[in-house]
């Protein structure tokens, strides 16, 4: 399970962009913002025969397929 989660981890679903930062901004700038491209976007048609989590892990994670697992951790944005 751990290797699947590492494989389908947040990193390759994360996109980073850099909004304009003005020297006149009133608050300390957040230079980097992120958003997520979930796997249902990159693989919009599920191919057959994908590797599966164990039933127990699937119940916990919400999907049977590591390829469609989308973890979410709070990131500063």
């Amino acid at each position: 399970m751990n290797e699947y989660i590492a494989h389908a981890g947040a990193a390759d679903q994360l996109r980073v962009w850099h909004p304009f930062v003005s020297p006149l901004d009133p608050c300390p700038p957040i230079a980097e913002k992120t958003f997520i491209i979930p796997p249902n976007v990159t693989m919009p048609w599920q191919p057959p025969g994908l590797p599966q989590f164990s039933p127990y892990e699937a119940l916990k994670l919400g999907t049977l397929w590591p390829a469609y697992y989308s973890p979410y951790e709070t990131t500063p944005k």
Partner: protein, 189 residues
């Protein structure tokens, strides 16, 4: 159609980190007497008003969109660098839950904009009197917003917008005088 100039009508500068002020400014963004309501009200009333005052509604309605951009810029500058925790502390936790940091057409209390904020009665006097009232209410809202911040740079932008409401009201009052057709006519009572 419109020609767009990629700059603000008046420079917006915000110098105090005060995300709570963004919440208050939303009153002029998506509130009942806000700039969105004003622009849509005037631009819609144009079609059924006497020819002499159509141009006035077009010009003022267009300027209201320029004001909407200024308010949006103020709100964005005040929220773009806030963490979710800071937004929550500023009373914007419910906004974050629904919209992240996206702007939305709602008032300071989070009530979404609705077309019931505006009227189109078709009667020229009724419509122009509503427009005059809307300008005075917007002027008052700007006053209360100026009262709610000590950022002189933000106040500067708000004071410009407040003055425009004063002038818009004047022009609508002049439009009423034009429709009364007593303007410039010598009358002996």
């Amino acid at each position: 159609m419109w020609i767009y100039e990629k700059k603000l009508q008046y420079p917006v500068k915000v110098s105090k980190c005060d995300p709570y002020m963004a919440k208050l400014l939303l009153e002029q963004y998506g509130g009942a007497d806000g700039e969105l309501a004003a622009a849509l009200r005037y631009l819609n009333q144009r079609y059924t008003i006497p020819d002499k005052v159509i141009g006035l509604l077009t010009d003022i309605g267009t300027e209201e969109f320029a004001h909407l951009e200024m308010i949006a810029t103020m709100v964005y500058k005040l929220t773009k660098d806030a963490t979710p925790e800071q937004l929550r502390a500023a009373g914007l936790g419910d906004h974050y839950a629904n919209h992240d940091k996206a702007l939305f057409y709602q008032n300071a209390s989070g009530v979404p904009w609705t077309a019931t904020y505006i009227q189109a009665k078709g009667d020229p006097i009724a419509d122009l009197y509503e427009d005059i009232a809307a300008e005075e209410k917007a002027r008052a809202t700007y006053q209360w917003l100026i009262d709610m911040t000590d950022d002189v740079d933000l106040q500067d932008g708000l004071k410009f917008l407040r003055e425009r409401e004063v002038i818009h009201s004047l022009r609508f009052r002049e439009a009423v005088e034009i429709l009364k057709e007593s303007h410039g006519v010598k009358k002996v009572f």
